[in-house]
């Protein structure tokens, strides 16, 4: 599925919170259809990087392009960017006052002004895809964490994005429900969706990723295809980290 065409290009990005530098000279390329995993200790800037990709956090230096859109352009069309980039958060962040189905339908109807009937059909297909058809009319508060997270994935997919960003989406889940969510992501990846995952699931990363990036202290320390990365890490910091988590 992977082509050579890049869809997300990150060049020499720097991001500061006050005096604190969270991202330092970060460069990274994601090709269409590719799945990449960003790993690293907490506080290494992984989540910030994801948030920069869809302009939830502005960058201070460098350049990010997503499907030809310059994210750091002051005249950025945010809607155009966000149609292309779907985000799934660690805490699901479903809208608690709407049912699962309504959560999926909301943005396409209210933001993209699409036809309600069409959107509903699509939303039901997506619910079936994440295996939650029977939960269509249930409110988020009545769903388990894993179920909520799968609804959140379906909600992002309803915008027909070209890239999906996953920000530690299984970190808040217990092992049983974790599996369901990872299964959904694996399916998406094999179908050819471009996925960028920030994750602590090393086994999963090794299995689904085309490329692994290791970040620490705001810089990309090392990257490579999973087989090589996990077997023969070159950097001392990477080896120390892998030793700790594996």
């Amino acid at each position: 599925m992977t082509t050579t065409q890049p869809i997300v290009v990150i060049e020499n990005v720097e991001k500061r919170f006050g005096a604190l530098v969270v991202l330092k000279d970060v460069s990274l390329t994601v090709k269409r259809g590719e799945t990449i995993c960003i790993i690293g200790p907490s506080g290494s800037g992984k989540s910030t990087l994801l948030r920069c990709i869809n302009a939830l956090a502005p960058i201070d230096k460098g350049q990010i392009t997503v499907d030809g859109i310059a994210v750091n352009d002051p005249a950025l069309d945010k809607l155009a960017l966000r149609r292309r980039v779907g985000v799934v958060f660690q805490q699901y962040n479903l809208f608690p006052h709407k049912t699962a189905l309504q959560n999926i339908m909301m943005a396409p109807v209210q933001v993209l002004k699409e036809d309600k009937v069409e959107v509903e059909a699509r939303a039901r297909r997506l619910l079936a895809k994440v295996k939650l058809s029977e939960k269509a009319d249930v409110y988020p508060g009545e769903l388990s964490g894993g179920q909520q997270q799968r609804v959140a994935i379906a909600r992002s997919l309803a915008m027909n994005p070209k890239v999906m960003l996953f920000d530690e989406v299984t970190a808040a889940l217990d092992p049983e429900t974790k599996k369901e969510v990872l299964h959904t992501i694996r399916e998406l990846a094999t179908e050819g969706m471009t996925c960028v995952l920030v994750t602590h699931e090393m086994g999963f990363a090794r299995e689904v990723a085309d490329h692994i990036y290791f970040t620490d202290g705001g810089v990309i320390v090392e990257h490579g295809p999973p087989a090589e990365f996990f077997a023969r890490a070159k950097e001392e910091r990477t080896r120390a980290f892998l030793e700790q988590v594996l």
Partner: protein
């Protein structure tokens, strides 16, 4: 109506419990007019105070510090000064600054009459509380929920409309209900500037019929019933808006 009137007439003659509002048509219509004025005044002020509260809460979310500080001062000032003095301030002082107008009988009258000032004064008073109530409701919506909306392409206005407001409103409802109950109780102050609301009507009746004791009880129970109805409606509303599995 006839047997009821007969009963109360008998009650007055036999036991001295004189409830003229049940058998004297003049007093009855006075009382009902007062009741109607209180209810009408309450509804208008509830509506306006909610409007003021929403506007204030929206301004408090603004980026510029000057309108924020202005709203804050308004809120603090109206919360921490007596509503009766506020009413006098508007009715006597501010009113004196406004031009007089000629009514259709050719008489010069103030631009805003006592009912108008009562509405303005009570709406601002309750509105100041509503600003705080709505603001705390908006603050109770998690930042991450707003971020999720942003990530789905919602603009600021749309996120407010479809996600923040519906959630914040549910959080606000109990406090809002309580403030509205207080607003209804505050409408009695309009008595001081001669607005013919319930208390005023009752006072008129008891000063003529000299049935202070009876009218006082009628008055207390009428207010308790109005408040009870409002509380009941607010509770029903809260229940209707309750989301399964979600506690605000």
């Amino acid at each position: 109506m006839q047997p009821v009137a007969e009963f109360f007439r008998w009650l007055a003659d036999a036991h001295g419990i004189n409830l003229t509002i049940f058998y004297d048509s003049v007093d009855r219509s006075r009382f009902l007019t007062g009741l109607f004025t209180t209810i009408w005044l309450s509804i208008v002020c509830i509506f306006l105070s909610i409007l003021i509260g929403l506007t204030g809460a929206l301004i408090q979310g603004a980026h510029s510090p000057i309108p924020r500080a202005a709203v804050r001062s308004f809120v603090q000032f109206f919360r921490n000064t007596p509503p009766l003095v506020q009413l006098a301030f508007f009715y006597f002082a501010v009113s004196a600054l406004l031009p007089m107008v000629t009514d259709r009988h050719g008489v010069k009258v103030p631009l805003i009459d006592n009912v108008g000032w009562a509405i303005i004064s009570f709406s601002l008073f309750a509105g100041a509380f509503n600003v705080e109530i709505f603001r705390s409701g908006i603050e109770a919506v998690p930042k991450s929920t707003i971020e999720a909306a942003e990530a789905l392409g919602y603009t600021r206005v749309k996120a407010y409309l479809y996600i923040i407001m519906p959630l914040a409103f549910r959080v606000c409802l109990p406090a809002l209900g309580n403030n509205l109950v207080n607003l209804v109780k505050t409408t009695t102050l309009a008595y001081a500037i001669g607005v013919p609301e319930l208390l005023y009507a009752a006072a008129q009746i008891w000063s003529e019929v000299l049935n202070v004791r009876e009218m006082m009880w009628v008055l207390l129970f009428t207010y308790i019933i109005i408040v009870a109805v409002l509380v009941f409606v607010m509770h029903r509303w809260e229940r209707a808006l309750r989301i399964p599995g979600y506690s605000a």
